[in-house]
Amino acid sequence: MAPKTLYDKIWDAHVAHQGDDGTCLLYIDRHLVHEVTSPQAFEGLRMSGRKVRAPEKTIAVPDHNVPTTLDRLKGIDNEESRIQVEALDKNAREFGVVYYPVDDIRQGIVHIIGPEQGWTLPGMTIVCGDSHTATHGAFGALAHGIGTSEVEHVLATQTLIQKKSKNMRVEITGKLSKGVTAKDITLAVIGETGTAGGTGYVIEYCGEAIRSLSMEGRMTICNMAIEGGARAGLIAPDEITFNYCEGRPNAPTGRLWNAAVKYWRTLFSDDKAHFDKTITLKGEDIAPVVTWGTSPEDVLPITAIVPAAKDFNGGKVNAAQRSLDYMGLTPGTPLQDVEIDAVFIGSCTNGRIEDLRAAAEIVKGKKVQDGLIAMVVPGSGLVRLQAEEEGLAEIFKQAGFEWRLAGCSMCLGMNPDQLGPQVRCASTSNRNFEGRQGRGSRTHLMSPAMAAAAAVTGKLTDVRELM
């Protein structure tokens, strides 16, 4: 048999029908649904008299619009947000899909609760009307974002019309230095490939530095595959993966568990498997990084200076100038001199327990700089609970952070958590696009530890100096 990549194996195991032109119907094992990209899809079903084909494989949760303040059960003030959450509530109940409403402790960001509840397992195909579905690739599952028309297609048929992508391999060799985390790796990779470098590919991340990451770290890596243009990122499952999955509410047990693990152990890229593109970075060469511009590819080590537009070529010259103007940065300024106004720790990139531990470790016994907006938004109700039990919540609160309820929050500010114009934010989210965290707001992406360091000093900071 010809050697296969991990992607090839999962793909082949899910083709329900193949057309003459190579177009496939890919069977979908898990369909995650949130309130923003689903109302038009459910409406489409209703209008055509169709049902959800596999409601037991469809998991719905409101996350983008929900307030994260403690009084949120009183209801949502913004009328449009409220209508959208109510629409999900109605659709989930009417079509009988698995549902975690706002008042359920298990509610949270869709990409955090899928793994947490054991819906996400190795070898699966997983889709969601959300580009950061790539997150679930950390389990060796083929997971990617889809549009609303496709959401409707999956609801109705449990399949997706797909053409196969190409294979790309991103290898991170060796060990990470002190202060360097999964977020730094994934940002460094995008800095290397550019935001279009992965377009048309599924990326498999491998190498010693990846293998030694926890599941939380691996999810951070795959989460941002889409920022590199790849629809999906993958990491082959191993003991770390199996340990994470075992005992989760929807993971198999007993005999089924053993059978599953036996199969999952076959999920890796064969020795001579063909990759269309390979990129290798040395773990030792990666420094704690931040973004300076308005594209996730605008990545620099924290020790660098703000670049000038003329440092770039082609279309990037204009884009860089536009970014610098938008971000209000002067070329030549050391990044560590850039003062910030806000800190956001959360999102599906970095809202898991390990992220909160890393941030708490830095802020412990210290204070957030006066006048900063600083909030920690756990990725799920259960992450929040665990952080409270571990004493992390107390550390954050004593340092001066707001301690919020779970949701997407200031990652994109569809709920009231938004930044004003020109407000500069150290953020653990995944996109620094213009207006992402509020119209005119300025986002610097970084790891939780780096964001925590920035909160303490009030500037972009090299976390290594606080360790």
């Binding site: 889809i146 496709e150 297609h153 279009a196 199969y263 696009f433």
Partner: protein, 201 residues
């Protein structure tokens, strides 16, 4: 879905790379539960000042381009969020065709599902089309999907590639779900096999 046949229309130049879906339709407009009505909000932050008045510098606010049905844009158009609101907003504005040197995957896909034709051209071809688009409203481009060609206002021809299945669906206005439903027997069979091979799923 509306059929896409041949169109002769005004093309607006947007020579910026990495135009992301947050730019095409910012988040505050994602709260709708409908598909229509997003056209006035397309490119909102570039198109309007903070006080809601139009920014005259933005191309679609210039008289020559208010009725543009084609966009000619820089590389990596549609990157970022998977929101289908982006093609809905373009469509509602009247855009039926976007031309660029490359598109982000999900956006590219979403276009076809909504009757918008994304066309990929080379750098040189994009330069040529950009110059043509800059001529304003008297310069109309022809997009002929059947023959897979673009004709500039001065008669130059550029051929393009398109997936044949997608072309077929676009030309005939076919809905994917209906087509897939015809293959329901394959899906049933697949589910049966899965129940034996991977009962834990």
């Amino acid at each position: 879905m509306e059929k896409f046949e041949k169109m002769t229309a005004i093309a607006a130049p947007m020579p910026l790379i990495n135009i992301d879906t947050d730019m095409i339709i910012p988040k505050q407009f994602l709260k709708t539960i409908k598909r229509s009505g997003l056209g006035v909000s397309a490119f909102h932050e570039m198109r309007y000042h903070m006080d809601g008045t139009e920014n005259p510098e933005f191309v679609l606010n210039q008289d020559a381009y208010r009725n543009a049905n084609i966009l000619v844009a820089g590389d990596n158009f549609g990157c970022g969020s998977s929101r289908e609101h982006a093609p809905w907003a373009l469509l509602d504005f009247g855009v039926r065709c976007v031309i660029s040197t490359s598109f982000a995957d999900i956006f590219y896909n979403n276009c076809f599902k909504n009757g918008i034709l994304p066309v990929i051209v080379t750098d040189e071809e994009l330069n040529l089309l950009m110059q043509d688009a800059e001529k304003g409203s008297n310069a109309r481009m022809v997009i002929d999907l059947e023959s897979q060609l673009i004709k500039t206002s001065d008669g130059q021809i550029i051929n393009f590639d398109v997936d044949q299945h997608r072309k077929h669906c676009l030309i005939n206005g076919l809905d994917d779900i209906g087509l897939t439903m015809e293959k329901v027997a394959s899906i049933d069979m697949f589910e049966k096999q899965m129940a034996t091979n991977a009962p834990w799923v």
